[in-house]
Amino acid sequence: MLRLYGKIFKTGVITEKVRKPGRQGAEPDEFVQTGEQLRQIVDRRFRGSLAIRQVDAGSCNGCELEIHAINNAYYDVERFGVHFVASPRHADILMVTGPVSRHMEEALRRTWEATPEPKWVIAVGDCGACGGEFGVSYASCGAVSNVIPVDLAIPGCPPTPLALLQGLLTLCGRL
């Protein structure tokens, strides 16, 4: 047990802090600055808590890996008031990865219907945005917007954690 605490103290807080520009690479700084702007909006418009329900509607699981990453200790998106919830009934935003497979079409629609108003939908990844590598076929409806209304698309294959956060900021900035 002592070793465990020792490791925790030795690791310290690795969550990236606001640094003066120019030190230690651009991305982390940009991530935090984007996050800070997002937090101000979340504080103002969502009383400090923005709830996201992630729905995989047919993704190759690449986007899921990066959505997970924004929760790791480096990015720690929760500090900006953003958190992922287990039910669409608790969500403000649906973050949908695609392409929407035809076999997930109805499940996605029902998830969207189960989300209380006001609600917003973000299509994540090239596939969610436009069908990507899979497009429209006998098995795929392509873009998320072909199935439910989409407020914002975050392209990328998959989008990086920074792109995901910037997308959230863009959407919330419009509200």
């Binding site: 992922f84 997930m104 076929s137 006998y138």
Partner: protein, 531 residues
């Protein structure tokens, strides 16, 4: 392992088939070398599987091709590193074959998949329910037939799949728990139907196919670059593995030798993918039993490696780094030096974490004895990767059917026999250490030279078959070219396809709340299975 033994096994198999009175023809030279091809009459299809089972061949997959008047079917068997493809052809208008399911548990779902996709009926199949098909196409339609349009035949919303006949239980105190397809986390969709008594799982039935995206169909007509991109998205977490398998199959079809440096770089990508996914799953498994410390520590290490991928190779998950003929990104010598240092650093961190985890009794409480897959079941299924290796199945393509550059490396394959969640945790940990060793020797012996060979158009009808060891286990790929450098058929087989049925068995008798950790300890890919 000595490659001679595989050939001996193949000859012995031929003799046994002849003894059983099955007329067969060995196609020589094999169009799918190094795999062997044995042609059989359709009526002997089931008997051949029975002989193979008796001879302890592992059943690895089955695929079909629409060749106009005939459907050809090939089943893949493996023993001691030797791959044999059983080949037969049936009439397209009335395609019927005996089933392999009686000899091989692993054949059950893939045969149902062929039934849905090609209309191929396995006459004595014990479970003729549909598998790949939900409601996106009708029961008389078969998407992988050449006359079926890629756009499908249905317009308007796809109805929900309501009438799939799950196994039901009757009697007092048995209840059903339906879970999914939308799960309560950042995970892929699939449906699990539990039958439980109190807290105990009596039965679990998986219903997959929700993320079926028509990968095999939309592969048709692509050029090699396009197929490599698609293969890299069969399962995003195994992008390197699938792209490598598809490219190797295409290169064998086109008879292209990739430069030695390209092979080593592919292996560096593959081992990095293994390290990153193993770290992530160790993290996730700690999370599933509420051990936040492990989740954040392993997650932290994973993020460091993802960032290095971005810095050195231009993509965090290494998508599209493997291209037909070689690789798209070289490794600069400064980056190689840095990589050597981060390997040392990761090993030191792992040492430290191992001591902490090992002494943690709450972790041990949840892992030990949970979700046991017996060695007998694993062998009967032909379980792959860390799932197989935690239950006594030591097969590893890198060691047993080595391809460049693993043919000149020593690949250590950790094996355990306990078969529980704990075994699957520690095998992952040991594989992680072995991958670090491999990375070090790859870096030391990195050949100089080109990173890609010039692509040469393969002749029409050229075909290739490849097996590589992804982080989940053996990945197979078959490719046939049409004319003009276009793909006529692509069949990928993710190890998850084989391993998914193991979860239904290993969770039995466990409590429902242990399902997440049992599931995560197997970690099948939904996308890789559903295609």
């Amino acid at each position: 392992m000595n490659p001679i033994t595989g050939i001996d096994a193949y000859h012995a198999f031929g003799l046994k088939l002849a003894e059983a009175g099955l007329p067969l023809r060995s196609v020589d030279p094999s169009p799918l070398a190094p795999a062997k091809v044995l042609e059989l009459a359709p009526t002997d299809w089931g008997k051949a599987a029975a002989v193979a089972r008796a001879e302890s061949w592992r059943w690895a997959g089955v695929w079909a091709e629409d060749c106009g008047p005939q459907l050809t079917v090939q089943a893949c068997l493996e023993k001691q590193g030797c791959y044999v493809l059983l080949h037969t052809a049936v009439d397209s208008a009335h395609p019927v074959l005996p089933s392999h399911t009686h000899s091989y548990w692993a054949a059950e779902r893939p045969e149902r998949q062929l039934q849905d996709m090609f209309g191929l009926r396995f006459e004595d199949h014990p479970d003729p329910r549909r598998w790949a098909r939900h409601q996106a196409w009708g029961d008389t339609e078969h998407p992988l037939r050449k006359d079926y349009p890629v756009a499908g035949t249905r317009s308007g919303p796809t109805p929900p799949d309501k009438d799939y006949a799950f196994l039901r239980a009757h009697g007092p105190s048995v209840y059903e728990i339906p879970v999914g397809p939308v799960h309560a986390g950042i995970i892929e969709p699939g449906h699990f139907r539990f039958l439980a008594v109190g807290e105990t799982v009596l039965h679990l039935e998986e219903r997959l196919g929700y993320v079926h995206k028509g990968i095999e169909k939309i592969a048709e007509g692509r050029d090699p670059q396009g197929l490599a991109r698609l293969a890299g998205r069969v399962s995003g977490d195994s992008t390197v593995g699938h792209a490598w398998a598809a490219c190797m199959a295409m290169e064998r079809a086109a008879r292209i030798e990739i430069p030695a440096r390209a092979a080593s770089l592919r292996a560096i990508f593959a081992e990095r993918e293994r390290v990153i996914n193993h770290l992530w799953d160790l993290a996730a498994r700690c999370n599933d039993v509420g051990f936040a410390f492990g989740y954040y520590q392993f997650g932290r290490l994973r993020e460091q490696w993802l960032r290095e991928n971005r810095e050195w190779f231009g993509h965090r998950l290494l998508m599209d780094r493997i291209v037909p003929g070689g690789v798209a990104t070289d490794l600069a010598s400064e980056a190689a030096a840095k990589m050597g240092k981060t390997i040392v650093r990761l090993r030191r961190e792992l040492d430290e974490l191992l001591t902490i985890l090992d002494a943690n009794s709450s972790l041990e409480d949840r892992f030990l004895g949970a979700g046991v897959l017996s060695a007998e079941l694993a062998a009967a299924l032909g379980a792959l990767g860390f799932v197989g290796r935690s239950s006594g199945q030591s097969f590893d393509v890198r060691r047993d059917a080595p391809y460049a550059p693993y043919d000149r490396l020593e690949v250590r394959v950790p094996v355990e026999t306990q078969g529980d969640v704990s075994s699957r945790f520690w095998v992952r940990y040991k594989e992680l250490r072995a991958a670090l060793r491999l990375l070090e020797s790859l870096l030391v012996n990195l050949p100089a030279g080109e990173i890609a060979a010039t692509w040469g158009e393969p002749p029409a009808d050229a075909q290739g078959f490849a097996a590589v060891e992804g982080w989940r286990g053996e990945i197979l790929a078959f490719v046939r070219f049409a004319t003009d450098n276009r793909i006529a058929r692509y069949w990928p087989r993710d190890p998850s396809t084989v391993n998914w049925p193991a979860l239904e068995k290993l969770v039995l008798g466990n409590i429902v709340p242990d399902f997440p950790v049992c599931n995560k300890s197997v970690n099948g890919s939904y996308s890789g299975h559903d295609l």
